[in-house]
């Protein structure tokens, strides 16, 4: 008896400690989830904080005197004269209206650097289009140089002003105060391809490239994936070869994506002689990469169609193929589509294999077909993120926001499809 009591005593005494342990364990679990969610929150706030300025452009509006003498130009229709003319001069003259005291050559150069280097092209294009404007004064809007843009957008953060001299900062401050330098919504970003100069670079080329690549991926991966899933679930005999196919699919699903890039480089480009950096090759590589995902989810969808449906169809004399094509596949379609959309979202965010097949090239033009050189959204982000200019960093984060928007939309669509169309048996 005494023995037993002491046993119970021991248990009772240890209870407190055990409950404390229990609490601690539970706390660890909560802490782990908190860590994971915190990193998600930090990731998103970091990117939004870095990138929202990418959606803002900084422009300068100047009264530009199109003085022929200063440009060494008296006939804008003469190609030889145009190629020799100095279109930077009127821009500098326009700036000097605000700062007449700047007369030193070095200072003038610094002053004209406030305006983006495409300003002179803008003046040239205007004159070539309207030769009669020579000698008049026109109000023109230019993009400022990206160092100025970054400085204006982050006026309260000294880290962003290091690329400007103090003199330049003073000029910019004065121009901002006079309302000459203004910020507005960055429509350039959504209407152009890449550029060497951040303020002139856009993401449209990458978006179109991504769309073209995804179209190729979808057109190949979806039918092939569904057909493969149908074969494996409905027609494949139980033998070694079928097992071999299944083992292959499972392993391919776990092969690192960069290996698919090597495959694309050696087979599609090396063996078949396809061109580099085109959406067709990118789409093919991504299709091979997403195929296992689509096959696995399509098989799950086919499996979930109840046998009663098959039996009923067979009972009224349908052939095996008719059962599959008329009943099983349509009923499994929502599940297959959900899996495919998720696979496509993965493919949209994939970068590494595309680097190897040359989609990292610097491409200014917006691609206009499946065989024209293109880049895609994630690769464009990578290119911008590895550039030195501060202006490109904000473009990269703005690009990330656009990429994430696409991906979230696709995943939301998949969830909606699943909720809306999937039948519970």
């Amino acid at each position: 008896m005494t023995d037993q009591r002491s046993q119970a005593e021991i248990v009772r005494q240890s209870l407190k400690k055990r409950y404390r342990k229990e609490k601690r364990f539970r706390f660890y679990g909560i802490a782990a989830i908190a860590v994971a969610l915190m990193s998600l929150v930090i990731l998103f706030t970091d990117i939004i904080g870095k990138g929202y300025t990418g959606f803002i452009k900084t422009t300068i509006t100047l009264e530009v005197p199109l003085d022929g003498e200063a440009m060494y130009l008296d006939d804008p229709t003469d190609k030889d004269q145009v190629s020799m003319a100095d279109f930077q001069a009127p821009v500098l003259a326009a700036l000097q209206q605000y700062f007449p005291e700047v007369t030193e050559r070095a200072d003038q150069r610094e002053l004209s650097r406030l305006v983006g280097s495409y300003a002179s092209n803008q003046v040239r294009d205007l004159l070539e289009g309207n030769p009669q404007l020579l000698g008049t004064t026109q109000t023109m809007e230019f993009l400022v140089h990206d160092t100025v843009s970054v400085y204006v957008k982050h006026a309260d953060n000294p880290a962003y002003s290091i690329r400007l001299t103090e003199q330049q900062q003073a000029w910019v401050d004065e121009l901002v105060g006079k309302g000459v330098v203004e910020t507005s919504f960055n429509d350039v970003f959504f209407s152009r391809g890449d550029s060497r100069e951040p303020s002139n670079a856009g993401i449209l080329g990458a978006i179109i490239g991504s769309v073209l690549t995804m179209v190729v991926t979808l057109v190949i991966a979806f039918p092939v994936g569904v057909a493969a899933a149908v074969y494996l679930e409905e027609f494949a005999p139980q033998n070694k070869f079928t097992d071999f196919i299944e083992v292959n699919i499972n392993n391919l699903a776990a092969v690192p994506s960069i290996i698919f890039g090597l495959l694309g480089l050696a087979v599609f480009i090396g063996l078949f002689g396809m061109p580099r950096s085109v959406p067709v090759v990118g789409g093919l590589v991504l299709a091979l990469m997403t195929l296992p995902t689509i096959i696995i989810s399509s098989r799950a969808a086919i499996k979930s169609v109840p046998p009663s449906i098959r039996e009923a169809a067979e009972g009224i004399g349908a052939s095996k193929m008719q059962v599959v094509l008329h009943h099983v596949v349509p009923l499994a379609m929502p599940g297959m589509m959900t899996g495919s959309i998720i696979g496509m979202a993965q493919a949209l965010g994939e970068t590494a294999p595309l680097l190897l097949i040359g989609m990292v090239a610097f491409i200014v033009e917006v691609p206009d077909g499946f065989f024209s050189s293109a880049t895609v959204l994630p690769v464009q982000i990578y290119l911008w993120a590895s550039s030195a200019e501060q202006g490109f960093v904000e473009l990269a984060s703005a690009g990330i926001m656009i990429l994430l928007t696409f991906m979230i939309t696709m995943n939301a669509l998949a969830i909606w499809l699943r909720k809306r169309l999937e039948r519970r048996w």
Partner: protein
């Protein structure tokens, strides 16, 4: 005609064949007393005609488009006078690009030797001829196939069986694409790897402790002077993967335990998708985060406490990679923990154990093999991950175990060796394929072992 234009044309012909065969089957059936007297529905006769029309033509078209370029290239090269035939593949690609630039009008013919201009003319001719041949052949085959099927619209022929058998074959071929892909991967890395080992001995590659492929750039310098040792790459990869696992395994495992044992249903329903969002974020985004936010932060932190840190540290890449793998570990462990039978849990709780004691002493040991499998899969993910390390880990191959130092990994080197313009044949380019082969073998082994463990474990409780 271009392949891109020919393709829709073939499809149009197939559609016409479909319509004609459909009408013919009805008109054949009419005198017999309706379509019930046909062996198959008109749809099947029509579908058969369309298949006969499209499949042979498309196969020819695909094969032609695939090999046209190579064959024409070889013909052009062999047409060159013998003294200007390129000796090495590098020269060959240079000459070929010259020829095709002249042919495309991008290069002024006055700037290149006469034989190149001749070759360019030949290239243009061959291309035009090939295109003509292709168009004629493909259209002819499509028409022949369609006509043949059209004449075979007869009441006693069971077209349904033909169509179904063909469809089955098509499905089979689609399933076999998985095998073709694997074979393609193996062959594309094997050939280049073998050629690489012809230039650099395999022992150098596997046991060398210094990696600097740049030295092989000059033609007079053979790459076999110890520049292709894979050891620093392997240690770098392992270091980063180890950091990633050290982050993701505890966090992922504990969140899985909490979600499956403690969390209420609505909590689970909201928390689990949020965790999985981490897995949906593209790797380039993590790379950006690691390179521009985490790495500078770690460097400042380390300098703050008096340590020397590189601006591209293994720690930054590993930490961020760990965050990326958290949902992977947690969803795999979640599956495994849920697969442990409920009566083990009930038995332990009935004996008076607390939930955490049940977890630690009963469920965890039972689930251990499955969890190990999950960790191996996560490790293979970490080893094969590319973008984070390309952006946040360095390029210099240091043989170090210091997480604040910059290291490089196998994937980083593959990317750096293959982006930019190299000739297809240098030891540098080939080395990338050898690295790819190593990566493929290692991840494959990890996956096979992991899947085996997981499957065995599942069978144990099923």
């Amino acid at each position: 005609m271009q392949t891109a234009n020919l393709l829709p044309l073939v499809l149009v012909i197939a559609m016409v064949a479909y319509a004609l065969a459909y009408m013919r089957s009805r008109s054949v059936a009419a005198p017999l007393g309706g379509i019930r007297n046909l062996k198959a529905l008109p749809f099947y006769y029509a579908a058969r005609a369309a298949l006969w029309c499209a499949i042979p033509a498309l196969i020819i078209l695909g094969a032609w488009a695939g090999f046209e370029g190579k064959v024409i290239q070889n013909m052009v090269i062999s047409s060159l006078p013998s003294e200007s035939v390129p000796q090495t593949p590098g020269e060959a690609s240079l000459v070929l690009s010259q020829i095709s630039n002249v042919a495309a009008g991008k290069l002024d013919p006055n700037f290149v030797p006469a034989e190149i201009v001749g070759a360019a003319d030949l290239l243009g001719q061959l291309r035009a001829q090939s295109s003509q041949f292709k168009t004629t052949l493909v259209l002819l085959i499509a028409l022949l196939g369609g006509t043949f099927a059209w004449t075979r619209v007869k009441p006693h022929i069971n077209a349904r069986e033909n169509v179904e058998r063909t469809l089955r074959w098509i499905f089979f071929v689609c399933a076999a694409v998985a095998i073709l892909t694997t074979v393609g991967i193996v062959f594309s890395v094997i050939f280049e790897t073998v050629r690489f080992f012809g230039k650099v001995p395999i022992t150098e590659f596997l046991f060398g402790t210094s990696w600097s492929p740049q030295t092989a750039l000059r033609a007079d310098q053979v790459g076999a002077d110890g520049a292709f040792g894979i050891i620093p790459l392997f240690t770098g990869t392992l270091l980063i993967s180890f950091i990633a696992l050290a982050v993701s395994v505890p966090v992922g495992l504990l969140s899985a335990v909490y979600l499956s044992e403690y969390a209420t249903k609505p909590m689970r329903a909201t928390l689990k998708p949020m965790l999985e969002m981490l897995a949906g974020v593209p790797t380039v985004v993590y790379g950006f985060f690691a390179a521009l936010t985490v790495a500078p932060f770690i460097r400042d932190l380390a300098e703050g406490i008096g340590l020397e840190a590189s601006s591209q540290s293994a720690l930054a890449a590993g930490l961020v990679m760990g965050i990326m793998i958290i949902p992977f570990v947690s969803s795999l462990s979640d599956d495994v923990i849920n697969a442990v039978p409920q009566n083990l849990r009930d038995g332990s709780l009935a004996l008076g154990a607390t939930q955490s004691e049940t977890m630690k002493n009963v469920i965890f040991p039972a689930a251990l093999p499955g969890i190990m499998g999950g960790i191996l899969l996560a490790a293979s993910r970490a080893i094969g991950e590319t973008m984070i390390v390309v952006m946040a880990a360095g390029l210099a191959a240091h043989l170090t175990a210091n997480p604040l130092d910059s290291v490089t990994t196998v994937t980083v080197q593959i990317v750096t060796l293959l982006t930019g313009d190299q000739e297809f044949d240098s030891a540098k380019t080939l080395a990338a394929f050898a690295l790819g082969m190593m990566l493929f073998i290692v991840t494959l082994l990890l996956n096979v072992v992991a899947l085996k463990i997981v499957r065995k474990y599942r069978e144990q409780y099923d």
